[in-house]
């Protein structure tokens, strides 16, 4: 599929369906990672590909297609998180009430769910750049150069940001544990 896309890109016949088939799982994974446990993945993926469809004719290939898609995904998730923060500020915590009203989970799953929520609670208190590199490195398992390529930064910058992000995470975790 990627080969087909490369050929299509080379001949300037990039189609949304092809892009979707090749990259929708990656976009969904990024959206899930960046959005956290309360993100509506389906809506995020849909929003990303609506933008992709609109901007695909203007895509010149200056950055890689993966990088381009990742940037769109990151912007969409950031926009959605801002909106959620605004709604939760306006309406209290009603936005996440449906999560709490689910049937009780087994202990192990409940513990895992709490761990994930704790991780994202701490991540949400960090600035966007530290949050992003920490998610991509610790959760997505990408290396420094891979992250650098994805976020279009130098590898040294990414390593510095990772180091600071990890220190911040530990400091916030220490505050939570007390």
């Amino acid at each position: 599929m990627v080969r087909t896309l490369e050929v299509a890109f080379a001949t300037e016949r990039l189609d949304l369906a092809d892009v979707y088939r090749a990259h929708a799982p990656s976009v969904a994974r990024w959206a899930a990672r960046l959005g956290g446990p309360h993100a509506e993945i389906e809506d995020l993926v849909h929003e990303v590909f609506v933008i992709v469809e609109r901007r695909l004719p203007d895509f010149r290939g200056e950055a890689g297609l993966t990088t381009w898609l990742y940037r769109i995904t990151e912007n969409v998730v950031r926009h959605q998180r801002r909106k959620n923060r605004l709604f939760s500020w306006l309406l209290g915590d009603r936005a996440t009430e449906h999560e709490r009203s689910e049937a009780p989970l087994p202990d192990e799953a409940l513990e895992r769910k709490r761990s994930i929520e704790q991780v994202y609670r701490i991540l949400d208190r960090m600035s966007e750049k530290y949050r992003t590199v920490l998610i991509l490195h610790e959760l997505e398992g990408l290396s420094g150069p891979e992250i650098a390529e994805l976020v279009n930064k130098k590898p040294a910058t990414v390593w510095v940001q990772l180091h600071r992000a990890r220190a911040l995470f530990l400091a916030e975790l220490k505050k939570e544990i007390g």
Binding site: Y20, R33, I41, F49, E53, G141, I177
Partner: protein, 166 residues
């Protein structure tokens, strides 16, 4: 590795286990993308809006020109009726005296006759002091301190302890 870092790694490991991507969810998104109404071009919308504005402008009642303002008639000069009446004579009230003298009844004083003093007999000279009398008279003529000299003479004449009691 500290306990804190171990705990952080545990949390990251728990969060790393992402549930597999739901293929059916991706299919639903694909259907939504296909069914998405294409974005309307702004040109027909702008044309419709312009048409509506033109129609409403054409149907709007024309604004009539303003009528001429009525000419102002000359008004009679205002004359105050109050000023026509004779002014009352103004007379200031009599000024009240600022201070009033208060007469206090004085008790009648009846003069009493001053009783005559009993005649005091002339003092008698103390015999043994007679010798000092001429000197005292000489001092009386030369000294200025009358009180001291007087008591001295009195001592000579009468009182044995005049100097003490004075």
């Amino acid at each position: 590795m500290s306990d804190l870092e171990q705990r952080a790694n545990q949390l990251f490991a728990a969060a790393r286990e992402l549930p597999p991507i739901d293929r059916r969810m991706l299919d639903r998104v694909a259907v939504r993308l296909d069914a998405k109404p294409r974005r309307l071009s702004l040109l027909p919308l702008a044309a419709a809006l312009a048409l509506a504005v033109m129609v409403s402008y054409a149907r709007a009642p024309r604004e009539e020109s303003l009528a001429e303002a009525p000419a102002l008639l000359p008004r009679p000069k205002f004359e105050s009726k109050r000023l026509l009446r004779p002014a009352p004579k103004l007379a200031a009230p009599r000024a009240r005296p600022r201070f009033r003298s208060v007469v206090v009844a004085q008790p009648m004083v009846v003069e009493q006759p001053i009783p005559e003093r009993a005649m005091v007999p002339a003092p008698e000279l103390v015999p043994e002091r007679k010798q000092y009398l001429p000197r005292a008279i000489a001092d009386f003529q030369s000294e200025d301190d009358d009180a001291e000299l007087r008591s001295y003479i009195q001592w000579i004449l009468v009182e044995p302890d005049a100097m003490v009691c004075r």
